[in-house]
Amino acid sequence: MSDTTATLAPASGDALSEDWLAVAVGLLLFGLSLALLGGADLLGWTVSTSVWTDPKTALGTVTKGYGGLGGASALVLTYLVLLGLLSAGTFLLKANVGRFAAAFTVVFWIAYASWILGSYAHFAVVTPADYQKFGISWSLKLTNEGGYIFALIAGLIIANGFPRLAAWLSEAIRPELYIKVAIVILGAFIAVTAAARLSLASSLLVRGFAAIVEAYLIYWSVVYLVARKFFGFNREWAAPLASGISICGVAAAIATGGAIRARPQIPVLVSSLVVIFAVVEVLILPFLAQTFLWREPLLAATWMGLAVKTDGAAVAAGGITESLILAKSAAEGINYQPGWILGTTAAVKLFIDVVIGFWAFLLAHIWTNHINRVPGAARAKVSEIYERFPKFIFGFVVTFAIGLTLALSSAPATNAKLTAAIGEANGYRVIFFILTFFSIGVLSNFRKLWEEGIGKLAAVYLVSLFGFVIWVGLMISWLFFAGVKPPLAG
């Protein structure tokens, strides 16, 4: 199994954590985009990708003002800037900068090539109007966000066919970092979207509390019972497993493992399993949602947030689901405003994330005081709530607050500039999503995991996820979100 510890902890001593690095990178990109409000377009040169039949038209720049740069140059420049930014970040993580830079070069170019491939008209186009526009007679109808799937598949091919390459790339395989940067940037995008319909956004937040209740209280208790009583796992295994399956995959398994003082390898192995199942879910659930739930877009969005169990896969699944459902709805003459489905999935997932620290503290308290009470050993401390809190959420809150404040207090002309600025930052959100998908794929070496004894763990996961979590999640989503639709565009 590729070493997930590279994604979970800094290399040593006083190094920055990945969470805080994600906050820094996300806020920097967001801040640069806001310069547009003052008339300075600092990110307009960033590469953008359009649906294409002629490869020469695939790439361009985010703003027309930089069009003279050309798409290929924009791509190279985007790569160089991200290489510099993330290499500096790797230095602060006290990881190997040289190895990261070399690996990131390969990661970026393979991942972005997958994105360009996903934008090929015969893969992406959905509506009859677009068939005509591109002069094609068939398409896989994946939308251009099918590029995420191609990036995932590219990663899977490397993980399972070229394991030595996967190992060499490991320094730059950081899906948790990439998705956290994306989520920090996403905060502003969601805020600007929500500002247009504040009452709907508020009610979505309230409904989101149901997600917390479901994940922590209902899912966790059932999965823990199944793992302990029916599969015979001991407490050291069952608790991280229950958290990984119920709450938030990697982060929750690691936090729980630490809270109950489990051996470190156990939550890492559970995390690997979470990633594998998330990959399977991302390949299936958005398409199920498009087929059966396209008339209930926000129900589908919530379902993604409740059923897919890593931040990266869940938020990205929300993005794919949005693309697929908006396309199908548009084909039926219903044009929903973009951003609501993705935003709802992200909000549901983040609500669940927020409580990880509290849950870890509760488990630590129970374990150190009632289950593994060792005289003289340290008890659970309240400070663990903060220590376990996913710090990247602070970044999300900052960009959300600034975005919302600007959107609600600005004149229409300024709001138009704000939307454009957020659009530029959003381009980076997409790039970090692509890197996340590719990285998740590279982490998923199915054969190696089987050799490491993951079979019994996988059985619990299979029974819990496909026997309970997904369907109860769908039922709860239906209970709270049936009939709740995003606003129409225009």
Partner: protein
């Protein structure tokens, strides 16, 4: 412990019965969850769509 030993460890693990505190955690979590969900479901009826 080498990861290859986990397979053997999981296969040979002795049963570990549920402690009273574990049963309490499961029961209270599930029960509180159901009650809270019902409360939120009722509140949901009054939220704008």
């Amino acid at each position: 412990m080498p990861q290859s030993n986990f397979k053997r460890e999981l296969a040979k693990a002795a049963p570990e019965p549920l402690l009273p505190i574990e049963k309490k955690l499961i029961a209270w979590s599930f029960g509180t969850g159901i009650v809270l969900l019902l409360v939120l479901a009722v509140l949901n009826q009054y939220l704008p769509k």
